[in-house]
């Protein structure tokens, strides 16, 4: 089991562009959560997907959207990129069906907006 995998590892985009980040959860997990981690700060919750629906959302604008596929993988989309969107984006998976609250994290995608 490769654990949680994210792609790409690094990305540079221009202000105003759109970006899609991808996450494959750990085998057997059904829930994917996305976090934004700015330099020197703790991860901030963006949203969570379970059963292909957004279940919880943090304090992020509608420019941040996502999707979960039937195989439980997930995408995070950010539209109209701002310089302030530059951060490490983390994906975490867990299993709500099994009632396991431990989150397993990917290595992150480093997004730089110029």
């Amino acid at each position: 089991d490769a654990g949680v995998t994210q792609s790409p590892t690094h990305l540079i985009k221009t202000r105003g562009q759109q970006v899609t980040l991808r996450c494959s959860p750990k085998s057997g997990h059904d829930t994917v959560s996305w976090y934004q981690q700015a330099l020197g700060q703790g991860p901030q919750f963006i949203f969570q997907y379970y059963e292909e629906e957004e279940r919880q959302r943090g304090n992020f604008p509608d420019r941040f959207s996502g999707h979960q596929f039937p195989n439980y993988s997930s995408e995070l989309n950010v539209n109209a990129l701002l310089l302030g969107d530059s951060a490490l984006y983390l994906c975490a998976s867990s299993s709500q069906r099994r009632g396991n609250t431990e989150a397993f994290f990917g290595q992150g995608t480093r997004l730089t907006v110029v």
Binding site: P43, F45, Q48, Q96, T101, A103, G108
Partner: protein
């Protein structure tokens, strides 16, 4: 509002000295409490959770519901404990959403 506070940004201790990382939370309900750790060039990973009452790598954490604190302690720090530590309460009623503190960097000097 839900809030997690880790007052120390940096803790620098010598090898063999005790280390305590503070975490205070403000939540309605009864959150499940976690400590996550990130070693250099590694991904964020679970260190321990209060419901398991385990000691992991010599670390323990005491949940004090009265003070709403969940401090992490180790009596004798080792150089390999140098890492970034995050306190993270989770509310099951909120769909297993983890809320992270700002983190404490621990530096263990030889």
């Amino acid at each position: 509002a839900q809030r997690v506070t880790q007052p120390e940004k940096l803790l620098s201790v010598f090898k063999g000295a005790p280390v305590e990382l503070k975490c205070n939370y403000s939540y309605s309900g009864s959150p499940e409490l976690f400590w996550y750790v990130q070693y250099s060039r590694q991904r964020l990973q679970l260190l321990l959770r209060h419901i398991s009452r385990e000691s992991i790598k010599g670390f323990t954490a005491d949940l004090n519901k009265g003070e709403t604190s969940f401090h992490l302690k180790k009596p004798f720090a080792q150089e390999e404990d140098s890492a970034m530590y995050y306190c993270a309460p989770l509310i099951k009623a909120a769909g297993n959403k983890l809320t992270f503190g700002g983190g404490t960097r621990v530096l263990v000097k030889p």
